[in-house]
C-alpha cells in the first residue's frame, strides 16, 4: 500500500443538490443520476447523500444514523443513549448488498426523543442536548460514529463511488423535498466511511468540493465552543461553523455566507452602504471563521439549501431551475442528467450565496 507522500492525488470532488420549493417529495433516484456524468470527479473513496423530508412519520424525533465497528461498540453506545433518550424505533438501515461496496460496518438508525426530565435537570434545549450527545459519542466512544442527527432528514454515506453508494442505501425507496449529494476525491486523508460527505450535525448538512487551507485556525476557534473535530477533514468544521453561527448565534444565511466567504477589504472600503458596514462588522467579529482556500459547498437545512463558492471562486458551481425544482451542481452536465429541460442556468459569483427555500408550511 502506498502511503502519504508516495502517491499524488489530484483534487476533484463533485457536489449536487435538488430542491422543490413547493415541498413536492422526490425519490432519491434523480439525485443519484446527477453523479454519473461527474464520475471522474470522484475516485471511489467516498460518496454520500442527504435527504430532507424523508421521515415524515417520525418528524418529531431525531433520526440518529450511526456506524458501529462491532456489536460491543453498539452495546456501549445504546446504553449511553438510553440514559438521556426515549428510543421509539431502532433498526438497521436497509442496504442492498453489491460488490462495489465492501467493508460494511454495522449501520443503524434510531428515532429518539430527549427525556424531558434530563433536559430540565441540565437546563438545556433539546437541540443543544442532541448536539452534545453527538459530540460525545463521536469523540469518546470507540468504534461508534453518529453521522446524521436531524429531524425528518438523514445522511447516507459510504466508501465507494456515489452512484454505487446511492444504490447501496436504496435511495430510490426514500422521498424528500430536497437532496444533496457528494462524490469524494480525498486529498489529505485516507477515505473511510465517517469521512465521506455529507457532514451533518442536527439538521445541518454540508457537501463540499475543495480544500480549506484555514482548517486549523477554524478548528481551534470552533473547539472553544464545545465542538470536537474528530475526523481531520476540513468539511467537518464547516458543518460546525454553520451550526454555531445559525443555531447558536442566530445569524441569517446571508450573514453566515458573509462570514465564511467574507468580501475583500478593498470591496468593503469601496462602498459606503449600510450592508457593507454590517458585512465589515461581521468580518471583524468572526475573523477566525473566514474559510480560505478553494471551496464550493451546499449547506442543507430544514426547508432549504444554500450554495456558496469561495470568494475567489476556485471551484465550479452552476445553478438552474425548472418550475418548482431548483438544481445546483459542480457541472451543468450533472443538472442535465437530473433534468434535461432545466432552464435559467446560472454561475454564481465567488462569495455570492444562492439560497433556495421551500414555501413556508410545505415541508
Amino acid at each position: 500500500m502506498q502511503r502519504e507522500g508516495q502517491v499524488r492525488i489530484p483534487s476533484g470532488c463533485a457536489i449536487s443538490a435538488m430542491i422543490s420549493t413547493t415541498g413536492a417529495r422526490m425519490t432519491g433516484e434523480t439525485i443519484v443520476k446527477s453523479m454519473i456524468p461527474m464520475h471522474d470527479r470522484s475516485n471511489g473513496l467516498g460518496g454520500g447523500f442527504a435527504g430532507y423530508g424523508i421521515y415524515p412519520e417520525y418528524r418529531e424525533f431525531y433520526a440518529l444514523h450511526v456506524f458501529f465497528d462491532d456489536p460491543s461498540a453498539q452495546y456501549e453506545c445504546e446504553k449511553y443513549l438510553k440514559e438521556g433518550y426515549e428510543i421509539v424505533k431502532s433498526e438497521s438501515i436497509p442496504i442492498r448488498k453489491i460488490p462495489e461496496i465492501t467493508d460494511v460496518p454495522i449501520i443503524w438508525r434510531y428515532f429518539v426523543a430527549p427525556l424531558a426530565s434530563v433536559l430540565s435537570r441540565l437546563q438545556l434545549d433539546e437541540h443543544e442536548f442532541v448536539a452534545r450527545t453527538v459530540t460525545k459519542i463521536n469523540s469518546q466512544f470507540r468504534g461508534a460514529y453518529v453521522f446524521s442527527s436531524g429531524k425528518n432528514m438523514g445522511a447516507f454515506k459510504a466508501v465507494g463511488f456515489p452512484e454505487d453508494v446511492g444504490r447501496f442505501y436504496r435511495l430510490e425507496e426514500y422521498a424528500g423535498y430536497s437532496w444533496t449529494a457528494h462524490g469524494r476525491y480525498p486529498t489529505n486523508t485516507p477515505g473511510w466511511w465517517g469521512g465521506a460527505h455529507p457532514f451533518a450535525l442536527l439538521d445541518y448538512s454540508v457537501v463540499h468540493n475543495g480544500e480549506i487551507s484555514s482548517y486549523d485556525a477554524n478548528r481551534r476557534f470552533i473547539e472553544m465552543f464545545g465542538y470536537r473535530c474528530t475526523l481531520q477533514t476540513d468539511t467537518e468544521v464547516i458543518a460546525y461553523i454553520a451550526d454555531y453561527l445559525l443555531r447558536r448565534q442566530g445569524l441569517t444565511l446571508e450573514e453566515l455566507a458573509s462570514v465564511i466567504a467574507a468580501p475583500f477589504w478593498s470591496e468593503l472600503d469601496a462602498s459606503e452602504s449600510v450592508e457593507s458596514s454590517s458585512r465589515a462588522y461581521l468580518r471583524k467579529v468572526f475573523p477566525s471563521l473566514l474559510l480560505t482556500g478553494p471551496f464550493s459547498i451546499v449547506l442543507g437545512f430544514t426547508g432549504g439549501v444554500m450554495a456558496l463558492n469561495d470568494r475567489l471562486k476556485l471551484r465550479s458551481m452552476v445553478t438552474a431551475s425548472n418550475r418548482d425544482v431548483h438544481y445546483i451542481a459542480s457541472e451543468e452536465a450533472a443538472i442535465r442528467a437530473m433534468d434535461p429541460d432545466a432552464r435559467n442556468v446560472y454561475s454564481p459569483a465567488g462569495g455570492e450565496p444562492v439560497i433556495i427555500k421551500v414555501e413556508e408550511g410545505a415541508y
Binding site: 471522474d40 465550479s316 442535465r336 454561475s347
Partner: protein
Amino acid sequence: MRIDAKGKLFDALNAEISEHNGELEIDNCLGQRFIAAGASAKQVVINGVPGNALGAYLAGATIEVNGNAQDAVGDTMNAGKIVVRGNVGDAVGYAMRGGAIYISGNAGYRAGIHMKEYREKKPVIVIGGRAGSFLGEYQAGGIIIVLGLHKDGKPILGNFPCAGMHGGKIFLRGDAQRVVFPRQTTRRAASPSDMYEISSYLAEFCDLFKINVREFSRDDFTVVVPNSSNPYKQMYVAN
C-alpha cells in the same frame, strides 16, 4: 458522421472521435471531458453539454457547441477554432497559445488566464456577453475581446481584471469607467490601428452569431495593456 454519446464514458467517446477525420457531429453529449483534445484535422459539432477541457491542446481542428460549455474550454490550445453558442464556465482559454475561441454568451471566472503569444502565434478569445472576475489574469500575450451584449444588467466585468497582466491586449466595449484595473496596466480609448487589429475577429463573431457588424463602432472600445514590458520588475527579485 454522427456519434451518439449517450451513456459513453469520456475515453470511449474520444477514442471514437480520434478514429475519424473530417466532419463529425456528436449528439447527446453529457459531461464527457477532453473532447477532441489535441485534434488537428476535423470539424466537430457538439449537441449537448461537453465536459471540462473541451478542445484542450487543440492543434487546428474546429469545434462548435450548440449549447453551453463547462470549465477550461481550449485549455493550452495551439491552433484551430472553438465556437460556443451559449456560455462557458471558468478558465476558458487557460494558457492558450494560438487559435481562436468565440463565445456568444458569458464567460466565467479567469477567462484567458495566462494566455501567451509568440511571433505569428497569437491566441484570441471573443466573449459576447460579460466576463467573470480575474479576466486575463497573468495574461502574457494574445487578445481578449469582451463585447458586453448580455442583457441581465450585470457589469461587463467582475472584480480584479488583468491581475498580473504583463503582455497582450484586452478590448472592452464601453468606457469601462467603473472597472478598477491594476496600476501596472494602462487603459485608453481604442485607436484606428487597435480596431484594425481586431476587425477580422469582430467580423467573424458577427458572422457566426448573426449580429450586425455595424453595431460596433470604434468609439465604443476601451483597450487595456500592461504599461511596460516588465511591469512587475523588482516585485520579487532585483532583476
